[in-house]
């Protein structure tokens, strides 16, 4: 992956470094100039392949990013000359040739163009007319530089399936003419929400203690956090951009403590707090503060604030559950969902006693759509157990266990069930 171990020989190391630092910037500019996502991506790929040989022969250039930019543009010209089926081929060729003649050694584009290009790329990859799984894959590929194989492994699908999904998405961008631009002001808030959803989905995919290669999944978290940081730089005036970044940092700080040495899931109140990443927590709290100062509350900021309260308390008992319950209440008003209601019930149960929590859980348990929702039954069991109803708690634990596919979580629920007896 892009953030992997650097190879020992200097040319490979320089290519890897340029790939990591410059690829998305070069790609974002070339898509705009060539007017074609697939063509630009192929040309950038060609340029990196050519760099290995050329830099071994001629030495590593003084400005590797500029070298890649020029090489990629020339490859794009070659590809465009050979491909007769591209619409507006003549205009595109003229534009690329003009750019190529303009400067032998191109000065890097100025900062605001680079920012705009990367925003264009993000908004295109996260366009609502694309399938959600394609948005995630395109974002990881175009902005994160992950290979199709890496994305396929992280999402537990076969590589050819993922490859087809990505090719199809790029074809739709071209055929349906999804524009390569930052949305207009009136569309921007809605479209940005969509981008944040894609980034958070990438994070959650990595964070969920699901099946699959834990290492690859950890890198998904890192990638989502990097995307969050990029968005902070590109859109510093949006409070939710900071809110999402804070939320991911605060969750990620506890990554090491969520699973014990034998691979078992550890619930928040049982986690070894010395395993929490203090630097990440500090960074997350500072990021949340930046968000709050913009005075535009939103769902990610509320979730980050809840997480911050849980993290800052020295232990579960002294956590300010009443305030957490209030924050879940605010979240429920903003984005009503059974998941938020469930969390609110749990927090109220901890703040005001299990009876108050069970009262809030009552309507959720009556909802037929939630009959198979495992976390509801796990929370129900927990509240019943604290209320002293061991038989009821056992029944709810059994229900939750039957609905758990994840071995680590199931083991934890079984441990709690056995503790009742």
């Amino acid at each position: 992956m892009s953030g992997g171990v650097e190879p020992a020989d200097p040319v490979s190391a320089a290519v890897a470094r340029t790939f990591r630092d410059e690829r998305a910037i070069v790609l974002a500019a070339l898509i705009r100039q060539a007017g074609d996502f697939q063509l630009a991506e192929d040309a950038v790929q060609d340029a990196f392949e050519a760099a290995v040989t050329a830099w071994r022969r001629d030495g590593i250039p003084a400005n590797p990013g500029a070298w890649i930019t020029t090489a990629a543009r020339r490859r794009a010209i070659d590809r465009l000359r050979r491909n007769r089926s591209v619409a507006d081929r003549a205009e595109r060729l003229a534009e690329l040739t003009r750019l190529d003649a303009e400067h032998e050694e191109p000065a890097m584009e100025d900062e605001s163009t680079i920012v705009d290009d990367r925003l264009r790329l993000i908004f295109t990859c996260c366009h609502p007319a694309l399938d959600m799984s394609a948005r995630v894959a395109l974002t990881l590929r175009a902005l994160g530089g992950l290979t199709t194989g890496e994305i396929a492994r992280a999402f537990l699908v076969a590589e050819p399936t993922m490859g087809k999904r990505i090719v199809r998405a790029k074809r739709k961008i071209a055929d349906a003419r999804i524009p390569y631009r930052v949305p207009a002001d009136e569309e921007l808030p809605g479209r940005l929400r969509g981008v944040l959803r894609v980034v958070y989905l990438i994070f959650n995919e990595g964070y969920a203690a699901g099946e699959g290669d834990r290492l690859v999944r950890g890198e998904l978290c890192d990638e989502a956090i990097r995307l969050g940081e990029l968005l902070r730089r590109l859109m510093p005036h949006d409070a939710e951009v900071w809110g999402l970044s804070a939320l991911m940092l605060l969750h990620d700080a506890r990554r090491a403590a969520r699973v014990d040495s034998s691979g078992r899931y550890v619930a928040l109140d049982a986690q070894d707090r010395s395993l929490w990443d203090r630097d990440r927590i500090r960074e997350g709290l500072a990021t949340l503060e930046r968000a709050v100062r913009l005075r535009r509350p939103g769902e990610y900021q509320l979730q980050a604030a809840i997480t911050a309260l849980q993290i800052q308390a020295p232990d579960a008992e002294s956590t300010d559950w009443a305030q957490i319950a209030d924050l879940f209440g605010a979240l429920a008003r903003l984005t009503p969902s059974p998941v938020v209601e469930l969390n609110r019930a749990v927090a109220v149960g901890l703040a005001d006693g299990p009876a108050a929590g069970l009262a809030l859980l009552e309507p959720l348990l009556a909802e037929p759509g939630l009959e198979r929702y495992q976390p509801l039954h796990a929370a129900h069991a927990e509240l019943l157990s604290r209320a002293g109803d061991a038989a009821g708690a056992a029944r709810a634990y059994e229900r939750a266990i039957a609905l758990t596919a994840n071995a680590v979580e199931r083991a934890e629920l079984e441990r709690r069930l056995n503790a009742l007896r």
């Binding site: 007319a129 394609a134 055929d175 349906a176 003419r177 999804i178 524009p179 949305p183």
Partner: protein, 137 residues
């Protein structure tokens, strides 16, 4: 005179199969000419592959945009609009303005331009004169 809309349904084929179909263009041009001479032809347009489709529904005042064609339910085709738009975003924004988007679904499909239609036939190896472009437009 009453007007009738002829809706064309077909199975999408792989590129080789599709290339075979493109070879029918001269016959189609002949047909268009005869329809036009008889004063029957109002318009004809070819749609891009269903892979490029996007569906728009407006529910609770919010436009819901989804990748893919309109999924078969009890809704039936009730009408159509052809709009000149700069790009998909503009087409989706206009689609969301239709009152029907509030109770039904508006499927947005890009139209294949006459120039491209002709070039697809040429790529399939058919000799088509340049005037064909205006015959298709």
């Amino acid at each position: 005179m009453p007007q009738y809309m002829l809706l064309v349904y077909e199975e999408e084929l792989d590129p080789a199969g599709q290339a075979e179909r493109e070879k029918e263009l001269p016959m189609m041009l002949e047909l268009h000419r005869s329809l036009r001479e008889a004063g029957l032809l109002v318009g004809v347009q070819r749609l891009r592959s269903v892979e490029s489709a996007t569906s728009v529904r407006v529910r609770g005042g919010e436009a819901e945009i989804t990748d893919g064609p309109f999924a078969v339910t009890k809704e039936v085709l009730a009408g159509y609009y052809v709009l000149d738009c700069a790009d998909l975003d503009e087409a989706l924004a206009q689609a969301a303005r239709l009152p029907m988007a509030r109770w039904g679904t508006v499927e947005v499909r890009p139209v294949v331009s006459a120039v491209e239609w002709v070039s697809l036939a040429r790529q399939a190896g058919v000799d088509v004169p340049d005037e064909a472009v205006s015959d298709l437009a």
